[in-house]
């Protein structure tokens, strides 16, 4: 990847995302959700998107707002149905959005494979369940596995805590979740961060996402939400 751009606005950061793109969106529920980038993407107007994310939106912020704006054709996720996922639920029941349910660990590992140049891998998860119907299976050393393929993104929109000016990223607590994996799996990775610090200020031992995986960075005000009625 080329040098990371440090941009002034979220709108610049999402410029050029084409209709029909596959966009990986970070976050587990609302922790680590790149709210500002998603809002900018709604303003930017790209439509017919395939979204890869753990959930299918909470309330009417972040991913839920993008769904509500009618920009998403398909969602790959592990857990769409939540206490506050009514935007997705209505679209799905109305037949206006496609859904592919992927076990959470497979979602992560398939993106990891995309980023790591692995062509496919034999995974023990979901063997014997309806989610592996039609998939290639094999017994290795007495254990049953299913062949899983990489999930690659055209873009990744992620949220991190701090970037340096080269684009190295660190995260905060469990908001780390999918960010580091998605950063490796997309052609263009766009990160919103709460802080940009001079190069050299991050501890090289503690960098989680090396700059090579980050194309664009924008600093935004931290916004925090918690899931309403979370179990």
């Amino acid at each position: 990847m080329a040098k990371t751009s440090i941009l002034e606005t979220a709108d610049e950061a999402v410029a050029g995302i084409e209709d029909g793109s596959t966009v990986l969106v970070g976050g587990f529920g609302l922790a680590g959700m790149p709210f500002d980038l998603i809002d900018a993407l709604i303003r930017q107007g790209a439509k017919d998107l395939t979204i890869v994310a753990n959930n299918a939106g909470n309330g009417e912020v972040g991913l839920a707002a993008l769904l509500k704006a009618g920009r998403v054709r398909k969602v790959l996720c592990s857990f769409p149905r939540q206490v506050d996922s009514y935007v997705f639920d209505e679209l799905y029941r109305a037949g206006e959005i496609e859904l592919e349910v992927v076990p959470q660990g497979n979602l992560a590992e398939r993106m990891r494979a995309a980023g790591a140049g692995i062509g496919a891998f034999f995974c023990p998860t979901a063997v014997g369940t309806p989610l592996v119907e039609g998939k290639e299976q094999r017994t290795i050393d007495g254990r049953d596995y299913v062949l899983e393929y990489p999930i690659k993104g055209d873009y990744a929109l992620i949220a991190a805590h701090t970037a340096d000016r080269l684009g190295n990223l660190v995260y905060r607590k469990t908001a780390r979740n999918f960010g580091p994996v998605m950063a490796t799996a997309a052609t263009t990775t766009i990160a919103q961060v709460s802080n940009v610090v001079p190069t050299g200020e991050l501890d090289p031992e503690a960098v989680v996402t090396p700059s090579i995986y980050v194309d664009r960075v924008v600093q935004v005000e931290a916004r925090h939400y918690t899931v309403q009625g979370a179990r």
């Binding site: 587990f28 529920g29 609302l30 922790a31 680590g32 753990n54 592990s78 857990f79 769409p80 149905r81 939540q82 639920d89 799905y92 029941r93 859904l99 349910v101 992927v102 076990p103 959470q104 660990g105 497979n106 979602l107 992560a108 590992e109 993106m111 990891r112 995974c123 023990p124 998860t125 979901a126 063997v127 014997g128 369940t129 309806p130 989610l131 049953d144 805590h161 995260y171 905060r172 607590k173 469990t174 908001a175 780390r176 979740n177 999918f178 960010g179 580091p180 994996v181 989680v208 925090h224 939400y225 918690t226 899931v227 979370a230 179990r231």
Partner: protein
């Protein structure tokens, strides 16, 4: 199953005059978690088990959204939107905790490094098959989360559930009728009426609560050793 273990099991002690509440059951499960083990407690009832694990036991909780050493639910000012458990509830840190990303978190699980995982269930087959992610009703929005990863991911997978559904049918069954989460993965089932060990040979009763073995055999439609 040898005759000896059969004989032992036939005398499964009745340890309480009444069925257990879910809190009491949580306490029973906590009692069986070995000192210093690494444990994942599934969303819902299993989270209650944490309340019965004294700190000196050194049990370390894994949460699949990327943390080892998860602490209790956060209260008041402790709430931090960047620190939640797998149920998206804000929690706190414990000393010696660590964070990692989702691929590393599920590698830890899939790789068999967790000692125990406790999950809720709709149905469990006496051979260890688990159904806990979908009732299979048409029109339901499918959502699996980490259930299938958890089901195959720990050295021991325990289920915590009420033994009987609202309609009175036992949830420990000959074969699951609901969509499976995992095959032959459950090693022990904790219920309000009894605890069962599962294995290739079927279910063995470990102990009962407010029910005799004879009554249990009457109401549960699988062979009980």
């Amino acid at each position: 199953m040898t005759d000896e273990t059969y004989a032992e099991a036939a005398e499964a002690p009745q340890l309480s005059d009444a069925p257990l509440s879910m809190d009491e059951l949580a306490k029973v499960i906590a009692r069986d978690i070995p000192e210093g083990s690494f444990v994942n407690l599934g969303i819902g009832q299993p989270t209650k088990i944490a309340d019965h694990l004294p700190a000196e036991l050194g049990v370390i909780l894994h949460t699949e959204n990327g943390m080892l050493g998860m602490g209790r639910k956060a209260e008041g000012d402790e709430v931090d939107a960047d620190l939640t458990n797998a149920g998206k509830v804000p929690v706190v840190e414990t000393p010696g905790c660590s964070y990692f990303h989702h691929a590393d978190s599920f590698a830890m699980m899939r790789g068999g490094h967790l000692d125990v995982c406790v999950l809720g269930a709709f149905q469990v087959a006496h051979t260890g098959d688990l159904a806990n992610w979908s009732t299979g009703k048409p029109g339901d929005i499918p959502a699996v989360g980490g259930a299938m990863d958890l089901a195959i991911g720990a050295k021991d997978v325990f289920v915590m559930m009420s033994l009987f559904a609202k309609n009175g049918e036992a949830k420990l069954v000959e074969a699951c009728t609901m969509p499976l989460t995992g095959v032959g993965c459950v090693s022990r089932v904790y219920t309000d009426h009894a605890v069962f060990d599962l294995g290739p040979d079927g279910a063995t009763v470990r102990e009962t609560y407010g029910i005799t073995l004879a009554e249990l055999r009457e109401r549960v439609a699988v062979e009980l050793h």
